[in-house]
C-alpha cells in the first residue's frame, strides 16, 4: 500500500543536468541536426537594464556554469523520457554522446558589470551553444543577483566602519535547495562572511555559523534553564537568543548565566522588536566582551536605518531579503545569438524585436580606471582595440578548460576591491548614479549596418 516516495524528491543528479533545459532548446537542436544546419554561433549572456535601485551588478556563478557545460550528460532515464516524448533515436544517440567542443569567454566572478555587457560568450556549433541557454542564465543570473544584494549590504556596513560580520541566514526562504546553496555562495562572493547552511559550507568551503532558535528556549521549563543547558554543551561558543519572552530581561538572564557558570559566553542574538533601540539597551547590560548579533528583516535599508538610529551590533544575519533578493528578485538576463558563421566567417547577427534589440557580434568590454576609481566602460567589437582593461577572459577553448578558477576567497576579495573602486554615487542603495557605458563607434556602425541590411532583405 505504501507508495515509494523517493521518485518525487525532484533533485537533479549529474545525469539529470542535461535535461534541465527548455523543450525548445531540444526542439531546435533536433532541427539543427536534421536540417544539417549547424553553423558556428556566438551567444552572449547579458542583462538589458539594472534592477531597481541597483547601480551595478556583481557577476557570479561562472564556476558552476562551466562545470555544467563541460560535464553535462544525458542519462538513460533522461533519454528514455525523450524517446517517449517523440524524439527520434538518431537524435537520442547524438545526445548520449553530447560533448561541448566550443569556446567560452567570460568576466571573472566578483567583477562589476553593467547593462549590455556580456558576462559570458559562447562560440560553438550552434546546436551545442544553444542547449545551454536555460542552464547558463539560470545559474549565472541567480548567483549574480545574490552577490549584488550581498555587496549592497557589505557596502552599507563598510560605510559605518565595516566592523560587523554578516552571515547569510536565508536558506529556508530561498527558492528551493539549489537556491539555498547558490545563494550562500553568491552572498559570499558579494562580501558576506559566512552562511548558516551546512551543505553550502561543505560544498563550497564557506564558514558556517549558527546559534539557537526560540524552540530551544521554549522547550525548557525556563529561559534560564535553556541558557544553562546550552552553555553546558557549547561553553564559550554560546550565542544566546534573548528575545523569546522579553529582550532586556533575556539579556540580563544571559549575563547572569555567564557569571554563574563562569563561562565567557560569546554573545546574544536579538530577533524582534525595535532592534536599534534594543541593541543600545542590551549593550548597557552586557559586559564588553559579549557580542550582539542582530537578525530579522536585515537588508541594506535596515542597516542604513539601524546605524542612523544609533544601533550597536557585532554581527547581522540577513535572511529572506538576501536569498530572494526580495526587492528585485531577477536580473532578467538573456542569452542571445550575436554572430553566425557564414561562408566560413563569423557574421554579426541581431534581431529587431521591439524594445529587445541586441548589439551584434562578439564583444570586448574595456574598463577605464583613473586614480583607483572606475571611470567608464566601452563595449566594442572583439577585433578592435579601444584601450582600457579587457574584462572578458578565455575560459574554455575547443572544449578544454584554459582558465584557472580562483578560490572563493580570491573572488570575494575581488568583489571587495571592486566596491572600493566604484564611485560612491554608483554604489548608492537608492537612486544610484548611472555608470558610464559607451558603445564604440565601430560597434555602433556595425549595428546600424546590420539593421539596415536586415530591413532591406526583409523588405521592411
Amino acid at each position: 500500500m505504501e507508495r515509494q516516495v523517493d521518485a518525487t524528491f525532484g533533485y537533479l543528479s549529474p545525469d539529470d543536468i542535461g535535461l534541465f533545459t527548455d523543450r525548445y532548446e531540444l526542439t531546435m537542436l533536433r532541427g539543427y541536426r536534421e536540417t544539417e544546419h549547424t553553423p558556428r554561433g556566438t551567444f552572449s549572456l547579458f542583462f538589458r537594464s539594472l534592477p531597481t535601485n541597483r547601480g551595478y551588478v556583481i557577476g557570479a556563478g561562472l564556476e558552476q556554469a562551466i562545470a555544467y557545460l563541460r560535464d553535462l550528460t544525458f542519462g538513460e532515464d533522461q533519454l528514455a523520457h525523450l524517446r517517449e516524448e517523440g524524439f527520434p533515436d538518431s537524435f537520442l544517440e547524438y545526445l548520449a554522446d553530447f560533448e561541448f567542443t566550443g569556446d567560452v569567454r567570460a568576466v571573472p566572478e566578483g567583477t562589476a558589470v553593467f547593462p549590455n555587457e556580456p558576462l559570458l560568450e559562447v562560440t560553438a556549433p550552434i546546436d551545442q551553444a544553444q542547449l545551454f541557454e536555460t542552464l547558463l542564465i539560470n545559474q549565472i543570473g541567480f548567483q549574480s543577483l545574490i552577490a549584488t544584494k550581498a555587496a549592497r549590504m557589505r557596502d552599507t556596513v563598510r560605510r559605518h566602519g565595516d566592523e560587523q560580520t554578516i552571515v547569510d541566514f536565508g536558506s529556508r526562504r530561498a527558492h528551493g535547495t539549489d537556491a539555498g546553496l547558490k545563494a550562500a555562495r553568491g552572498a559570499y562572493v558579494g562580501g558576506v562572511d559566512g552562511t548558516s547552511n551546512e551543505a553550502a559550507g561543505n560544498q563550497f568551503d564557506i564558514p558556517v555559523f549558527g546559534t539557537m532558535a526560540h524552540s530551544w528556549v521554549q522547550s525548557f521549563p525556563s529561559e534560564r534553564a535553556a541558557f544553562e543547558a546550552f552553555v553546558d554543551v557549547y561553553g564559550e561558543e554560546s550565542v544566546l537568543l534573548v528575545d523569546t519572552y522579553d529582550t532586556v530581561a533575556g539579556a540580563k538572564t544571559a549575563v547572569e548565566v555567564a557569571r554563574e557558570t563562569d563561562v565567557d559566553v560569546r554573545g546574544v542574538r536579538l530577533d524582534s522588536g525595535d532592534l536599534a533601540a534594543l541593541s543600545q539597551d542590551v549593550r548597557e547590560i552586557l559586559p564588553s566582551e559579549m557580542d550582539i548579533f542582530v537578525s530579522s528583516g536585515v537588508d541594506e535599508f535596515f542597516l542604513r536605518e539601524f546605524f542612523a538610529d544609533g544601533g550597536i551590533a557585532d554581527g547581522f544575519g540577513p535572511g529572506t531579503s538576501l536569498t530572494t533578493s526580495k526587492d528585485a528578485p531577477t536580473l532578467d538576463p538573456v542569452y542571445k545569438l550575436v554572430a553566425v558563421e557564414e561562408d566560413g566567417k563569423m557574421q554579426p547577427s541581431m534581431k529587431l524585436s521591439e524594445g529587445k534589440v541586441t548589439y551584434p557580434g562578439g564583444k570586448s568590454v574595456r574598463r577605464f580606471t583613473a586614480d583607483g576609481t572606475l571611470q567608464r566602460d566601452v563595449i566594442a567589437r572583439t577585433d578592435e582595440d579601444v584601450g582600457g582593461e579587457e574584462l572578458l577572459v578565455d575560459v574554455v577553448q575547443d572544449g578544454d578548460l584554459v582558465y584557472e578558477f580562483p578560490t572563493l576567497d580570491e573572488i570575494r576579495e575581488r568583489t571587495l576591491a571592486t566596491l572600493g573602486k566604484l564611485p560612491a554615487d554608483v554604489r548608492a542603495i537608492e537612486d544610484p548614479a548611472e555608470y558610464s557605458v559607451e558603445i564604440s563607434d565601430t560597434l555602433t556602425a556595425t549595428a546600424e549596418r546590420v539593421q539596415s541590411d536586415l530591413r532591406q532583405e526583409m523588405d521592411l
Copy 2:
C-alpha cells in the same frame, strides 16, 4: 594543471539532503541529545500574513517535503564534514542512524490557506522535529508561493472564458535548478497546463511545451528559410516565432510557408511589442486554424490588460513573474514550536517576541462552506470540535506513511475547484477582500492563559 570541476556543481544527492539545514538546527540537535532533553514537541508551519495583493495562498510542496522527511540520510562525506566542524562522534553516530519516528498532519496540496493556519504540523521527539525546519519551510514555502501565483493567472484567464493554455516558460529565471523544477510543479498545482522544462516534465509527469527561439530564425539566411526548415522537421506541430524582425511581416511569412508547404502549421508566437494590438493584427492574417501564443512579461496583471485591450490568444507563456513570484517573492513561512511534552502530556507553548506571537498548541483548522462558497475558517485546538470541515489530514504516523498522495492532476483539480469556491473579491488580483479566519474561543483563552503564566513565571 586542469582542475577537477565536478565538485563545484553544487547539486544535492539524497545523501546530501540531511545537510541542507541551518547550522543552528544541528547545534540544537546536539544540545538536545547531550543534555538528554528530548521531550516530544509539536511544530507548526504557517505564514503570518498574506503577501502583497494576495487574498489567499494555495498550499503546495507537501509530497516533496514528506519525501525528504522520510528518506533523509547523512552520507559519509557529510558526516566527515561535520566531524571537521567539531561535532563529536557520538552525535555523528546518531545522525548516521537518523530516522523520523514522529507524526505529520498537513493540509492537502491544492487547498486555499490563510494567515496563521498551519500548512503542516510535525509532532516528534524535539530533536527529530527540529532538524526539518529549514527544509520544510524551503520546500513548502516556495511551491506554495508559485502555486498561488499560477492560480492568480489561471483565475484571470478563467474570468475571460478560460480557453487559453498557460505554460510555465520561466526555468531560466528561476532561482537555481531546484526552483526551476519545483516552480514547474507548483505552477501546475496552481492551474497552468504545462512547462517548458524538460526535467520537470520527466520528474513530475507534467506536459512539456516548446517552440523556437529567435536564434533559430537568425541562424538562417532569412526568416522564410528558418520557417521552412522548421516545418520540414516538425510539420503540423510547428509553432513559428514571428517577431524576430517584424511581427506582422513574420506572421504573413508564416502563413505563406504553411500554404506553400501544404502543412497545417499549428500557430505562431508573439514575444515583443504591443502584444494586444499585434495579436489582433496577426489574427486577421492567420487562417482560423492557426493559433496565437503570447509570451514576454506575462503575469496576471498583463493578462487583465491584454483582455481589456481586446487581445486575442490561444495560449500564454509566463516566465520570470511566475517562477520568481516577482511581485512577492516570499511567503515568509515559519516553523514554530507550539507544544512541548511535560510530565507525559503535550503542553501548549508560545513565545512573546514583539510582533511575532504564535498561537499555542497543535491546531485544527475548520472550514465552513455555504452554497458552494467558502464562508470562513476557524482555527481551533485539536481537542475541540467547532464544526465545519477539518483541513488537516494525517500524513505520517509513528514514521509510517498513512496518506495516499493524490496524483498531480488530482491536486490541480483540487486547486481549480477551490478557486471556484473562493469569493470573487477574495480572488481579486489587486486589493483583495480579507477572507474571514477566526480563532476559536477556547484557543483564544488558551493563548491568554499561556501568556499570563509566562509573564508571571518570567516576572515580566
